[in-house]
Symmetry: D2
């Protein structure tokens, strides 16, 4: 197999990319200057060397030459240790950070648990989570399960809850999930009953 | 102008219909049997004769030959008089009814108030609303503003709130809005900050 | 069944309309002034009275009070009798007319012949076509089959060809089909092999 | 700038990729095994070393260790030298090859000439084309301009024609363009007048 085909196949495995766009990527690279490919190749090759996984929250972050191996969020002393948000992926964490609405710590599961999956422990960082919660139990007040509102997200949330239950039993730690209701742009006419029910249940007084 | 063009023009004004589909409607009618057009025409002609507006909640409903002129929801004695939900349109009311999550009464505004509109009173049933709230004040405990989560919905909600304020001042009546957060299918990665902030603010304990 | 539901059901049968949009149509009508509904209803009721089918080309056209019962295209003496274009539907004829690229006469089949249909004669004006071609045989030079380039169009074209064959055998009448190749906006990268093959086969010298 | 951001920025420049998908690519790479990244990086780095541009048709093709530096199409003695198809991009050539409808040689321009571009010669291989045509003039019978049927394609075709004109003047060489008409899936109702006009102009007898 020649290099065009081989690289096309690799790009076809990228998330959301079909064989046609994969080939366009390869031709795109072929028409770049030589230096560009060298640089791009080096960036890919050194990616894992310069990016590391935070041993505390398990998100990816750029390695630094300081003493600590923790990421900037975990190092940030202005963030509360009392709240821990569990997210599935790094991009979820980034979305939350961009909303500037959370000032606690995170734990990145590294994936979701598909429904009917027989080895859920292998899809997410289950043992790392158990260890983290066990250690931080004394200082924790709330664990927030921040998952997508779809069947796989729900299932992951249920599975994680079942992992947490024995650890936090007999502690005052609250386990919470993200609120449900109307999201930006939602129109009542086109809403499903589940969403409307949640929106009504969680309605808020606007008198204040 | 011939009948094909004239009817095409009428159909073009239907919500969501362009001139091309409008013309397809006309040819569709032209190829129906004669009896079909007679029936369809009669249905349109008699629509307003057989459908009336409920004098209490202002929704459209089929006229009955009984003594009362109220719609079935307003007549339903099993529904609470203490909660009144204000919706913009009949279809919104129908969505809520389909979700089986509300057991109070309704008020249909009949429209929304566009941002920058100079005569908001003419777009919605403002005076009817004022009259309704004034009359029912003694029995009301909560007024729910159920509007779309978009700028025009927000604006309508604000305007209606300003109408209600003087009437319910010094009463214990609560004015509430639909809860916000993740709606069915929402993925954190693709959520706007506003939605995430709402979801986090309204997070719920799942311990119970 | 009440009038809202009944009319919603009728609109649901309109081409391309689902139950939700159908209901929006009904509420649209309910919020029109009384006179509007009367007019609209009358337009529908009188549609077939004011529109008639041309006995020569079988297209719909507005009735006139003159002596002739033919449509304006069939009456137009500037149009050639030597070329007859067979189209499936009135909208196809209108598209061709709008392109100002044909100056002959038309015959509207009134539909297409679905693949595997057991009674093709009932889906299109087969006997009328046979009669028309038989009568006009002496003056005809070319019959153009103008159908959609999709399986059902092809099938209709094949079926019509089989109807024409015995009639025009031993005559110099040419039966032609629309040319194939690149249509406006076609990009080679995304074209199917069939289209490229046609485009190449029918390539044209640009020297002149 | 850290490696995640830097690589995200690179991927954002890939054809059809926005910043969000670019970031997903980076996280996709981060979760691959170490060996995968090494391999992928090597493939990118060696791409231009193993793929070369054919000095005759200017398409990209995998280098071989044989004596000839020509691509397999240019080497193929079963393909006619009398027909030369000029295409804008490698993917266009591949589409044509996949249709198995052309058995001549190719010339890849390497791009298109944008409308209003002031230096068209820099966007395509103009001088190489002039050289190629000048050399092969004696054996050429037809030059086929195979471009997209859109304004930029048309403009490129016009520009290339103007380059060819002085070279092939006083030769019997035909310059042709791809045929136009209905492409697969085209429906008359939704066709533009230009396409219908072409389809009608290039209609074909189906008598044979």
């Amino acid at each position: 197999m020649d290099a065009i085909r081989e690289l096309t196949e690799r790009f076809s495995q990228f998330p959301g990319i079909g064989p046609r766009q994969a080939k366009r990527f390869v031709y795109y690279l072929l028409t770049r200057p030589n230096g560009y490919l060298k640089e791009f190749s080096a960036l890919v090759n050194e990616l894992k060397g310069s990016i590391t996984v935070c041993p505390s929250c398990f998100r990816f972050f750029p390695k630094r030459h300081e003493n600590s191996s923790l990421c900037d969020i975990c190092l940030d002393t202005h963030r509360s240790h009392e709240e821990l948000m569990i997210v599935c992926k790094d991009v979820d964490l980034e979305s939350i950070e961009k909303s500037h609405s959370f000032n606690g710590k995170y734990f990145v599961l590294g994936g979701t648990v598909p429904i009917l999956d027989k080895e859920p422990n292998r899809k997410i960082r289950a043992s790392e989570l158990i260890k983290t919660i066990t250690e931080r139990k004394p200082e924790l007040k709330e664990i927030i399960l921040a998952v997508n509102f779809n069947p796989e997200g729900e299932h992951t949330s249920d599975y994680v809850s079942s992992l947490l239950k024995p650890i936090i039993a007999n502690t005052p730690i609250i386990v919470s999930t993200l609120g449900r209701g109307l999201s930006t742009g939602t129109e009542l006419e086109y809403s499903d009953s589940e969403t409307l029910k949640n929106a009504l249940e969680h309605r808020q007084s606007s008198n204040s």
